[in-house]
């Protein structure tokens, strides 16, 4: 059994890393919305120094770099702490995967600065950011006391379709984020992202209803469905508002405060929606017996032999 105090500390540190990642996502969105991505033409230094003159768009770009460094350090500490404290191999793998992703993300950010081609490099940078965030969220959930306690396994005939639906909803939201990033960075127009919004709407409603009906008495599932609904609803409203702000901005070269606020909020909303769907999907995996022939213990390891009741 893991040391409770240490594991709580580790869980809280994982949450801190996830929270700082949200701030980092916000800083990145501010860079894009303020058209400041190219305000510092060199990397890893800034105008040849560690600290550049903090004027104009440089403030956004530099803040983003500083936060990226903080998150990288936090992720490294998290990976080391997980390796030293955890006996579960999945936790260790997730920790080092997160660290590899944040380093790759930093390099991709440097490529974006040095090579340009924002349609490709900035889109890839934005997508990898969501993958990293999802990894940290997943790891945080995996390290949570809730995940590690002995939970009753739900042996429901409808469990597998609900789990699969939740999984595909998470995938659909991720694809929608890619389409949104591609539109934002000029790879293509808004139409694919609008189409994706329609598909995600159907899937979120369908998955949430299916999961709720499949597990009516399970409090954790109910709370996660509420979280999913809430983030989804807010994100739809933010999407409409952000698009209105984009149309209103038109060819205006100077981003307005309204445009910046709404577009940044929509980017953050997308990340939180992805996190909500991922948490629901992983929770279904944790609670639902994968098949009638296999059981899992509280650590997620499969037990040999017929399923326990």
């Amino acid at each position: 059994m893991p040391d409770t105090q240490n594991s709580r500390g580790l869980y809280r540190f994982a949450l801190l890393t996830a929270s700082c990642t949200v701030l980092l996502l916000m800083a990145g969105a501010l860079v894009t919305s303020n058209n400041a991505a190219d305000s510092v033409p060199d990397w890893p230094l800034a105008y040849g120094h560690l600290v550049p003159p903090l004027v104009g768009g440089i403030r956004f770009e530099y803040a983003h770099r500083v936060l990226a460094a903080v998150v990288s350090i936090l992720t490294f500490v998290l990976a080391v702490w997980v390796t030293r404290s955890e006996s579960r191999p999945v936790a260790k793998r997730l920790g080092w995967t997160a660290f590899a992703l944040v380093i790759a993300q930093a390099v991709l950010g440097g490529i974006r600065v040095l090579v340009g081609h924002p349609a490709l490099s900035a889109t890839a940078h934005a997508v990898l950011a969501q993958i990293f965030f999802s990894t940290v969220v997943g790891l945080s959930l995996y390290l949570s006391p809730w995940w590690q306690k002995d939970l009753p396994q739900l042996d429901q005939a409808a469990s597998r379709p609900a789990f699969l639906l939740a999984t595909w909803t998470t995938v659909a939201i991720f694809v929608q984020l890619i389409l949104g990033a591609a539109f934002r960075h000029g790879a293509f127009g808004i139409q694919p992202h609008l189409t994706g919004a329609g598909i995600v709407t159907i899937m979120v409603i369908w998955a949430a209803q299916t999961v709720k009906h499949s597990f009516p008495g399970v409090r954790e599932i109910r709370l996660r469905v509420v979280f999913l609904h809430a983030t989804f609803g807010i994100q739809v409203l933010l999407g409409v508002a952000a698009y209105w702000a984009v149309l209103r901005a038109g060819a205006n070269f100077q981003p307005s405060a309204t445009y910046v606020t709404l577009t940044v909020a929509h980017v953050l909303g997308g990340a939180l929606l992805l996190a909500a769907s991922l948490i629901l999907t992983l929770s279904c995996f944790r609670l639902i017996r994968p098949s009638s022939l296999v059981a899992v213990n509280s650590t997620g390891a499969r037990l040999a032999g017929p399923a326990a009741s």
Partner: protein
């Protein structure tokens, strides 16, 4: 006597042949060396001439003259918000209106690029001017807003402000580049090897800063001032498509035909 006469004739023939040979060599050398030379000489051509390139004959060259005007009252543009940039605010005494639409008292429209879009046919080998074109960053604005130059002509970008700028040339036909330029730092010297229209130049430190650079393979272009007038001189006789570009009001084309030593007239009217 007869022998001396023959010797003299032979000498004359030889001399004549040598002169012809020298002239032929000179002609071959002058054609073969019409390629971009050492930059120090300042004599380069925008596009290397081919064997079929024609050279403009100044004795038959004409011109196309005209005006570009804006009908109606231009919209009032909101001032640039420099509240977050104390450095730029200090450089500007009052509100700064983005210089997108500049008109003169008679309705002339400034910052319109007028150029020959087509009609030059085989004419080419135009010499690139050795004078550089200047683009300044002054009071946190690009000045002038629209600049036109020839392929391989030097563009000098100055930072006259006591603040940092980055110069981001978002070219598509040419290589895109982005360089930082410190306060009152050395000029950035650059040129473009390909013709390209309306290359946006921006500063990501101050995102309202915008300029447009046009690069032509020929010298028949002009950027209008407030009077909206233009004159494209030295054009060989022919029929041309003259095109105008304005950053807000877009593009217009008209066809003009000029004969030897004629001046054609054409007017462009944009509607507000």
């Amino acid at each position: 006597m007869v022998t001396r006469g023959r010797e003299l004739h032979s000498l004359k023939v030889t001399a004549f042949r040598l002169v012809v040979l020298a002239l032929a060599l000179a002609s071959i050398l002058s054609v073969g060396c019409s390629r971009p030379r050492n930059e120090e000489s300042g004599v380069t051509t925008a596009v290397p001439p081919t064997s079929s390139t024609l050279t403009v004959d100044p004795s038959t060259a004409g011109a196309i003259r005209g005006t570009v005007t804006l009908e109606g009252q231009p919209p009032a543009l909101p001032p640039i918000n420099m509240s977050g940039e104390p450095g730029c605010r200090k450089l500007n005494a009052g509100p700064v209106i983005p210089p997108e639409i500049i008109t003169g008292p008679s309705g002339g429209l400034a910052n319109v690029v007028v150029y020959v879009k087509s009609g030059l046919g085989q004419y080419g080998g135009f010499k690139t001017p050795k004078d550089a074109v200047a683009l300044d960053q002054k009071n946190c604005m690009y000045d002038p807003r629209v600049v036109a130059l020839m392929v391989n002509q030097q563009l000098e970008i100055h930072n006259d402000d006591a603040t940092i700028h980055n110069v981001h040339a978002m070219a598509k036909e040419n290589k895109e580049w982005n360089k930082g330029q410190r306060a009152e730092g050395p000029a950035i010297e650059t040129s473009f090897s390909q013709p390209e229209l309306a290359i946006p130049f921006m500063c990501n430190v101050h995102p309202w800063m915008r300029a447009f650079v046009f690069v032509f393979a020929h010298p028949y272009f002009e950027v209008t001032s407030k009077n909206g007038a233009f004159e494209l001189k030295g054009l060989p006789p022919g029929t041309y498509t003259i095109e105008t570009w304005h950053e807000r009001y877009g593009i217009q084309d008209q066809s003009v035909t000029i004969g030897p030593r004629e001046t054609g007239q054409v007017s462009f009217r944009y509607k507000s």
